[in-house]
Symmetry: C2
Subunit: 139 residues, 2 copies
């Protein structure tokens, strides 16, 4: 289960109770928590953990490339532990629900050289926006 924790340990990451709890809370599929949500859940397992530590830890996991930061709504950033399976996101504009999706095709190939302005492109983020089934029925 806890792949994330294993990966981090395997990189010689110094292990502390706080880091373990953050990794446990964040691990899983279709998980896209904000820093505050991570903190709230972490507190229930380790009451004295501070907000600063949660922010630090999430930032380190992002730097290590084990977690991806997604900005789906211009509010709080969300953290996606599924960094090793390339995927995109499908977001409900009403309730904010997020699903991981796997489109066919390669969006990078769709961008002609003339449209690259000399940039060295390293990745592409695709966000599909719409309304989820349960919001759709609630008019």
């Amino acid at each position: 289960m806890s792949d994330l924790l294993e990966r981090l340990r395997g990189r010689g990451w110094r292990m502390t109770a706080q880091r373990r709890v953050v990794a446990e809370v964040l691990d899983g599929d279709h998980v896209h928590l904000t820093a505050d949500e991570v903190h709230a859940r972490a507190v229930s397992k380790l009451p004295e953990i501070s907000r600063a530590t949660v922010y630090n830890t999430l930032g380190e996991m992002v730097t290590l490339g084990e977690v991806i930061e997604v900005a789906t709504d211009g509010r709080a950033k969300r953290y996606d532990p599924n960094a090793h399976r390339p995927h995109q996101h499908l977001v409900c504009g009403r309730c904010g629900a997020i699903r991981d999706v796997h489109p066919a095709g390669d969006p990078l190939a769709d961008l002609p050289d003339t449209e690259r302005f000399g940039f060295t492109i390293s990745n592409v983020e695709v966000t599909y926006r719409g309304v989820c089934p349960s919001c759709a029925t609630t008019a």
Copy 2:
């Protein structure tokens, strides 16, 4: 030149000095200012304009569909006046520069039904990330 202003006027938008200034500041190609940047520029044309008014005005322009809100970095939202020419964004991870780009193909068509989870999808946002030429030379 000021297409944005024209479009707004044409919709019966009540015109005030403040709204005119915001529209003028925001108009153009490859423009992606934050609300505070818009405010700063607006102040230089109309010193007594307030931050709240800039936020209100930008929000209204978004609601009217004349301006698009883009969240490229999880920090401040940026405002893109180019709402009537469908396009995507190319972002430099170092300096934050943003260019409008026009990829070939339709990313929506790339998402199979089985990956739509019953959502009604209304639009797709593609963000290419990389390093711009001038940041690349500055090692």
